[in-house]
């Protein structure tokens, strides 16, 4: 008999030989240990298997039921962005040595992965201006929550303050995490598009473990970290900064502005939008907090002949050692996506990353001005990176439906999380051409007035 399943190598003969060796007559006997009443009588009730070409067609059809950013220019951001990904990225991460490997527990045969992650950690340190970085986290939002938990545990204080200009999903996840670990989360109101520092001053106290802000924030605006640092210092609180790593190519490194922990999402550097995942969180901190950092860390060492090599290190921090005493349960990382962003950063290099970041500022600036010229109000009071808030005279949902008819994917509806009805968060990356921006501005004008 010929096999039906191309991933399963056992022929009838193989099976017979193995069963004979076990003195068994059928594989069924191997499952006798499962009590009869717990056995599935009729198998799993799921659709039948599809042969490869049939399945490929079905999946292509499913994929084609989505409108993708190759078809329509996209002005959505809000945490996930359409950026240039150099071709090399896909080729490197498609090597089976990288993508099929396990976590590098056996360093002698995992030096490639370990070194790539060591390089990734270095690049994250470079961008953030921090001493150390881990090998990555699930994504930016979960990384932010881990940072808050670390601050609470390290400061032995019972609450964190988080700016409302931090991504709503990150705050939602922080709420869930804080409920588990039983610490308080208080939100700090906005002064239009940035954190209200006067309110922050009133809310911060001796119980505050950390102040959490985003840089650039959810509205694209650039918070003044130096001012926030001063306020945190008066109460001995940490400053946690969530940062778009691409923006850090032109913005002062949070480490230089006194951040204790810098977290964020590597998606803008080498990771496709992919409906929001998988992405890759990063986590960087000071030497002082290194031994409390969650997640895996790669360190340099030598082998018995003195040759440079890399290992997973500082494992005493981790869940498999600490078990119920653990302060984080993270066991894996997003190694392949960390690799993708390391390759992307290597390809961009020190000049490319700056050029790309600058183009984001320029294109967003151009779009904002073009909209203002048409009479739209742009709400940002602070300088912004590649996103800004524009006020419309109609619900964003309606406007986006009209834009869609014009073949444009419009911006984010701020009515959704902020109660800012008729306010759209517009993202303009280096991918958008002047022609696309002009078309967007015109279509927006028609959509609002028409």
């Amino acid at each position: 008999m010929t096999n039906t399943y191309r991933y399963l190598p056992d022929t009838e003969q193989d099976r017979k030989e193995m069963l004979d060796f076990l003195n068994l007559s059928s594989t069924e006997e191997l499952f006798k240990v499962i009590p009869e009443e717990l056995r599935l009588k009729d198998g799993l009730n799921i659709p039948a298997a599809d042969p490869e070409p049939v399945l490929m067609k079905k999946m292509q059809k499913l994929a084609s039921r989505n409108i993708n950013a190759d078809q329509y220019p996209i002005f959505l951001g809000a945490g996930i962005y359409d950026h240039y990904i150099p071709s090399v990225v896909k080729h490197v991460i498609s090597r089976q040595e990288f993508y099929t490997a396990y976590t590098p527990y056996q360093p002698e045969i995992s030096q490639g992965e370990l070194q790539a992650i060591f390089e990734f950690q270095t690049m994250v340190c470079e961008l953030t201006g921090m001493d150390v970085a881990n090998s990555s986290m699930y994504d930016g939002p979960t990384s932010l929550a881990e940072a808050a938990s670390l601050a609470v545990a390290s400061k032995r204080r019972k609450k964190v303050l988080v700016s409302k200009a931090v991504h709503p999903e990150a705050r939602a996840i922080l709420d869930t995490v804080a409920r588990g670990q039983e610490y308080g989360v208080e939100e700090v109101d906005l002064a239009t598009d940035i954190t209200d520092l006067e309110k922050l001053k009133k809310q911060i106290d001796k119980d505050t473990a950390a102040v959490i802000v985003q840089y650039p924030n959810f509205f694209g605006s650039i918070e003044d970290l130096a001012e926030i640092r001063k306020i945190a210092d008066e109460h001995g609180a940490m400053m946690i900064v969530s940062s778009n790593p691409l923006a850090l190519a032109v913005l002062q490194a949070p480490g230089k502005l006194g951040a204790d922990i810098v977290v964020g999402d590597m998606q803008p550097l080498g990771i496709p939008m992919a409906f929001g995942g998988p992405s890759c969180g990063y986590f960087a901190t000071t030497k002082k907090l290194m031994r409390k950092m969650p997640g895996r860390i790669v360190g340099e060492t030598v082998d018995e002949n003195g040759k440079r090599g890399f290992v997973l290190t500082l494992q005493a921090r981790e869940q498999h050692i600490r078990r119920e005493k653990a302060t984080s349960n993270i066991c894996s990382n997003q190694a392949l996506n960390a690799l993708a962003s390391a390759v992307c950063m290597s390809a961009l290099g020190k000049h490319g990353i700056r050029k790309m970041a600058l183009q984001n500022i320029e294109k967003a600036d151009y779009a904002a001005k073009a909209l203002q010229n048409k009479g739209f109000a742009v709400l940002n009071t602070a300088p912004f990176f590649n996103e800004f808030v524009v006020e419309l005279s109609r619900p964003v949902k309606e406007v986006n439906e009209r834009l869609l008819k014009e073949g444009i994917i419009g911006g984010y509806d701020l009515g959704r999380d902020y109660g800012l009805e008729n306010h759209m968060l517009v993202a303009v990356t280096e991918q958008r051409t002047k022609e696309e921006i002009d078309r967007f501005v015109e279509a927006l004008e028609v959509a609002v007035n028409g």
Binding site: Y7, L8, D10, D14, F21, L30, I34, R39, N45, M59, A63, R65, N66, I67, N68, A69, I74, V88, V92, R95, Q96, E97, Y99, T100, Y102, T103, P104, S110, Q111, G112, I117, F118, Q121, E126, D131, D139, Q181, D224, L251, K256, G276, P278, R296, I297, V298, D303, G309, L314, H320, R323, N329, Q334, A335, S346, A347, L348, G349, K350, E362, Y366
Partner: protein, 487 residues
């Protein structure tokens, strides 16, 4: 060829690039005008400066220092290192999946939502559950999600004193860690001498403070907890919930379901049972399934069907909230769905047949040469290196010697309750010839331990680096590259 031993920061030259961006077609912006001076970056980002070919050579050289599933046998216990099918990768790189934004209008992402919905439905069937969330990014995050559901459930019922989560002493380290970060106290339940949950000890441990019992079945020793019905009764009678860690689900596909066994909550590891690649540590995915009475607590947003449209619904007031950005690791979900569609009912059933047959075959082959603490197994088994330890050779040494044979070693020193443990999971996708070759290597190593232990103690001999000094790495951590001062 000389061995490559450079960091990417140690190659290239100032001025080289490996990217191509169009020149800006809009006006330039003067940063000094736009931003206050102290918020403008004052130092270059020290990223590499390499050409595209240099970049590719660097990473290809690194890849050659890494061992993947296509390099050879990878019998890591409880990790299910099966083959990662190519069509999964092809499907996951379709622009219709990679180039979509999570906040696009629902009508423009119906294909993605349908895929998520279908996968939820099929995993519910496979788990014997009533609903599934695909949001958790990994097994550990699935565990924590499940336990937050437990917490919320009891809080809503006013049973606040249920503060304890029970785990067997054979449990994976994430179980107690996840319980701790969900705010529970952890109680360890000892195993009996057959490697199974000690029912009497469990009875003593449960009470009106029990929130949940977390169990892997088959457990981490590869043994099926045949008293699972009684275990479920004990836990449920005490008012607690039963949590299924799906790390070992490769053994039970189509044979039974966690639901049938009496579990209330399940997590699966798509990167184990459902063939998505491990990626050198991730991304994976850890969907969570629940029985009907726990559905209100699932994370939001949930993907639901409204007529013939698929929608995202966050209107579930009892939900534990969000656990992960957006909708989970979507491209991993795409791969797992492709796999399930490739295998279908019959295929998944054969997966477990093969996984369990292979483990039993290999166990019996090795049993004469190593201490074998238990006399049966499902899809994986444990051996103890205690016999070899008496001769001065430890499990770690034998693991390193396996590297010389071109095999990835098994999981070692876990579970903690087996001395010098080796935990071996051959998976469904390995051929009999591979199993035979691995057995031969293991047997040869066992002989070496008796006749020529130095060769094992000094292993590995053929790898690009020898054993690395982990003590120095931890004592004087170097976790990033620093440019030499004189440059």
């Amino acid at each position: 060829m000389a061995e490559y031993n450079k960091l990417i920061f140690e190659i290239g030259r100032p001025g080289r690039v490996a990217y191509s961006l169009p020149e800006s077609d809009v006006d330039s912006v003067d940063l000094e005008e736009k931003l206050p001076k102290h918020l403008i970056r004052d130092e270059e980002v020290n990223l590499p400066e390499v050409s595209e070919l240099e970049l590719m050579r660097h990473y290809v050289a690194l890849s050659k220092k890494n061992f993947g599933v296509e390099d050879g046998f990878y019998p890591l216990g409880s990790c299910t290192m099966k083959y990662n099918p190519k069509i999964n990768e092809d499907v996951a790189s379709l622009p219709g999946f990679t180039r979509i934004h999570p906040y696009q209008p629902e009508e423009t992402v119906q294909g993605a939502l349908e895929l998520i919905y279908n996968l939820q439905e099929e995993l519910a069937v496979i788990g014997g559950m009533d609903a599934v969330t695909l949001q958790p990014a990994a097994g550990a995050q699935g565990e924590w999600t499940g336990l937050m559901i437990v917490k919320q459930y009891f809080e809503e019922r006013g049973e606040d004193k249920r503060t304890k989560v029970l785990v067997p002493d054979s449990a994976h380290g994430t179980n107690p860690a996840s319980a701790a970060v969900a705010g529970f106290d952890v109680v360890t339940v000892p195993s009996n001498d057959q490697g199974l949950v000690d029912l009497e000890e469990l009875k003593k441990a449960v009470g009106d403070d029990t929130a949940a019992f977390m169990l892997t079945n088959p457990n981490t020793l590869g043994l099926f907890e045949k008293e699972i019905k009684e275990i479920a009764e004990v836990v449920h009678e005490a008012g607690g919930l039963l949590y299924y860690d799906g790390a070992n689900a490769n053994a039970i596909l189509g044979k039974t379901t966690p639901g049938l066994m009496g579990f209330d909550i399940v997590h699966f590891n798509l990167h184990k049972t459902f063939s998505t690649p491990h990626g050198g540590g991730g991304p994976g995915a850890g969907p969570v399934g629940v029985k009907e009475f726990l559905i209100p607590y699932l994370p939001v947003p949930r993907v639901e069907k409204d007529g013939d449209k698929f929608v995202l619904n966050s209107d579930h007031p009892s939900s534990i909230g969000r656990v992960k950005g957006f909708y989970g690791n979507f491209l991993i979900l795409v791969r797992a769905y492709t796999y399930i569609r490739t295998m279908g009912t019959e295929g998944l059933n054969e997966v477990s047949d093969a996984a369990v047959l292979h483990a039993n075959y290999l166990r019996k082959k090795l049993e004469p040469y190593f201490e074998s603490p238990y006399d049966n197994c499902m899809h994986e088994f444990v051996l103890s290196g205690s016999r070899q330890k008496k001769l001065g050779v430890r499990t770690v040494d034998m693991a390193k010697r396996l590297l010389d044979h071109g095999f990835h070693p098994p999981t070692v020193y876990f579970p903690l309750i087996v001395d010098e443990c080796m935990m071996i999971e051959p998976t469904d996708t390995e051929s009999k010839e591979t199993l035979d070759a691995f057995a031969e290597a293991m047997i040869q190593i066992a002989k070496e331990v008796e006749e020529n232990p130095e060769v094992v103690l000094e292993a590995p001999h053929n790898t690009i680096v020898g054993r690395l000094d982990e003590v120095q790495a931890a004592r004087k951590p170097i976790v990033r590259y620093q440019k030499p001062e004189n440059e």
